[in-house]
């Protein structure tokens, strides 16, 4: 192994390497726990995302259909004009929560639904179809807002999971085996050197005794 050869085989080096392995092992164990917890959180949010997506999009498509009826009946220009007159003051209350260092948004259910009068377009020139369209979009928007929170959470948790998984794998399959390999190499070299020393000493001793 290339790295094994670049390190000088000394006791000091061996101690240093053993310390590095134990840090890597500790890091691995903790990141593995984090990874498992992230998988759990990811699955949990995914379960919610699937349902919320289906519900929100169904509602949105219904709203689109009513809108195209409205375009056809009232006229596109007239509808767009009414939309321009509409009161558009929707506010969202957004805060955050933290899941293992990941910041995810929390959006309060917005007060989207209102009655025809509160919408602000002139009721003389508009048809009831416009009210219906508005109501449909209000409801679709309410579901989309909730879905946005869940989807953003899913992406954020998924991204962190991906990163953590990469780290865990790098430790488990690359760094730790490499360090262990190097430790083995140095231990063997040290043993070998010790044996060589021992034979050398024995030989010196024999020579010295012969001379006596």
């Amino acid at each position: 192994m290339a790295t094994a050869l670049t390190i000088s085989p000394t006791r000091m080096e061996l101690i240093k390497l053993k310390r590095r392995v134990s840090l890597a092992q500790r890091g691995h164990d903790l990141l593995r726990e984090k990874m498992d917890a992230l998988v759990m959180e990811f699955f949990d949010v995914l379960k919610k995302v699937q349902g919320s997506r289906t519900r929100a999009l169904e509602r949105l498509f219904r709203a689109y259909r009513v809108l195209s009826e409205c375009f056809a009946t009232m006229g596109t220009i007239e509808t767009v004009e009414s939309a321009r007159e509409t009161k558009r003051e929707l506010q969202l209350e957004i805060s955050s929560r933290h899941v293992m260092g990941i910041t995810v948004p929390v959006i309060e259910d917005p007060k989207v639904e209102r009655n025809a009068l509160a919408r602000g377009y002139s009721l003389y020139t508009t048809s009831s179809l416009l009210d219906e369209t508005s109501k449909e979009f209000e409801q679709a928007l309410k579901l989309l807002v909730k879905h946005a929170e869940l989807e953003a959470s899913a992406f954020a948790i998924g991204k962190e999971l991906e990163k953590t998984k990469r780290r865990v794998n790098a430790l488990e399959y690359i760094l730790i085996p490499k360090l262990q390999e190097t430790i083995k190499f140095i231990s063997m070299r040290l043993d070998e050197m010790e044996r060589e020393n021992f034979t050398r000493l024995k030989r010196i001793k024999a020579i010295l005794e012969e001379r006596r």
């Binding site: 840090l23 593995r32 933290h98």
Partner: protein, 128 residues
């Protein structure tokens, strides 16, 4: 790579609160939230707070520190987590239908249930 490990390890618990908040404080706050170590804000959900208030006798509301910490410590066995603190262990034992104890040891499936019920009023800690 060693530096990277150290960085990851230092990042593990940055979401923890600088200072926790008691259930009573949280309930009386109009916008209950704790500051995290990395300067973020972590909001506590009111429905969860009310759920907790229903589980714990009112005289003990001062003792429950929020968020409740779910501590993973691989040294003491993988996939097991500790809940420390009498009041915290008490409410968790109620939720998971376990025997009461001063300190509770719970397993991953139980952690999943707990997290589902208390997504903002519990938090993970990793101790190495």
């Amino acid at each position: 790579m060693d530096r990277l490990i150290k960085l990851e390890l230092s990042r593990l618990n940055v979401h923890l609160p600088e200072k926790r908040m008691t259930l009573r404080e949280a309930l009386s706050s109009s916008k209950p939230e704790v500051m995290t170590r990395n300067g973020g804000k972590h909001a506590l959900n009111r429905e969860e707070l009310e759920f907790l208030a229903g589980l714990l006798p009112e005289k003990n509301w001062n003792e429950l520190q929020l968020p409740i910490l779910i501590a993973f410590e691989p040294k003491f066995g993988k996939s097991a987590a500790r809940i420390s603190g009498k009041a915290g262990a008490y409410v968790v034992s109620k939720i998971l239908d376990k025997e009461e104890a001063e300190e509770l040891l719970i397993y991953r499936p139980e952690v999943a249930i707990l997290r589902k019920k208390l997504p903002t009023t519990t938090q993970y800690v990793f101790i190495g």
